[in-house]
Amino acid sequence: MTDETTPTAVEVNCETQEVTTRPLTADEIAAQAAAAQAAADQKAAADAAAAAQAAKLAATNQKLIGLGLTQDDIDTLLAAAKA
């Protein structure tokens, strides 16, 4: 039985089909934490870029409304542009 506070690693040996369950080593925990942080940073950057793009689109939409277009006009233009 493993310590429930220690993450567990499952390893499948493809040659023998033997399955081994063991606690992660300190090095493995550190390496995975670093990789996880890097992945989280990458996703945060992607989310921030997507949010900025959405905000820019919303601002542009408002500018068009300010010029007198209706939302229906804008949607029609966008649909035509995507076609």
């Binding site: 499952v10 390893e11 499948v12 040996n13 493809c14 990789a35 992945a39 989280a40 990458q42 992607a46």
Partner: protein, 172 residues
């Protein structure tokens, strides 16, 4: 007719685990395919499912990812990643839904850097779901891939019944 798509090994978790590794991968196939259905204990919608080869965490991965959640789309490029990741379901996704991913690794025994491609989805059946497509490259070594580690990025564990299948593709 030759069997060209063979199940090498699989693992369906009977209890939670932080990572699943396929080791001693036979070098007798042309390409590899990973098919995964997974859910983690992360208290969010989307878990980062991370892949590492040959126990290498040295920043030798690069990837370009496209992602969308139904409201916005984004693209990211990372040239020195510690792993390559796809979306999976986190633990506030709709109960009992699992994220899914398929990763194709061509020419995994060739003496060259290892390209790969994949698609993945973090399902919720509710408000927000992520899907992503990734093109990746492992540049740590030109050695054949002999092990693949799939680990959680945000949470602590893959939950019970998460399933991992490794297939070998032969070209004849």
């Amino acid at each position: 007719m030759a069997a060209t798509y063979n199940l090498i090994s699989s693992q369906v978790l009977g209890s939670s685990a932080a990572s699943v590794t396929f080791s001693s991968i036979p070098q007798t196939y042309t390409d590899l395919v990973l098919r995964i259905s997974a859910r983690s204990d992360f208290s969010g919608v989307v878990e980062n499912m991370m892949f590492s080869f040959n126990s290498d965490y040295s920043g030798s991965y690069s990837d370009t990812a496209l992602r969308g959640n139904g409201a916005a789309a984004s693209s990211v490029r990372d040239t020195s990643a510690l792993s390559i990741y796809w979306s999976a379901a986190g633990n506030i996704s709709t109960s009992n839904t699992f994220g899914s991913a398929e990763i194709y690794i061509p020419s995994y025994t060739a003496s060259q850097y290892k390209p790969l491609s994949g698609i993945g989805a973090g399902e919720t059946n509710a408000t927000t779901a992520y899907m992503g497509a990734t093109a990746g490259l492992y540049r740590g070594s030109t050695s054949a891939i002999s092990s693949i580690l799939i680990s959680v990025g945000n949470g602590s564990n893959w939950l019970t019944n998460s399933s991992f299948y490794l297939y070998g593709i032969k070209n004849s």
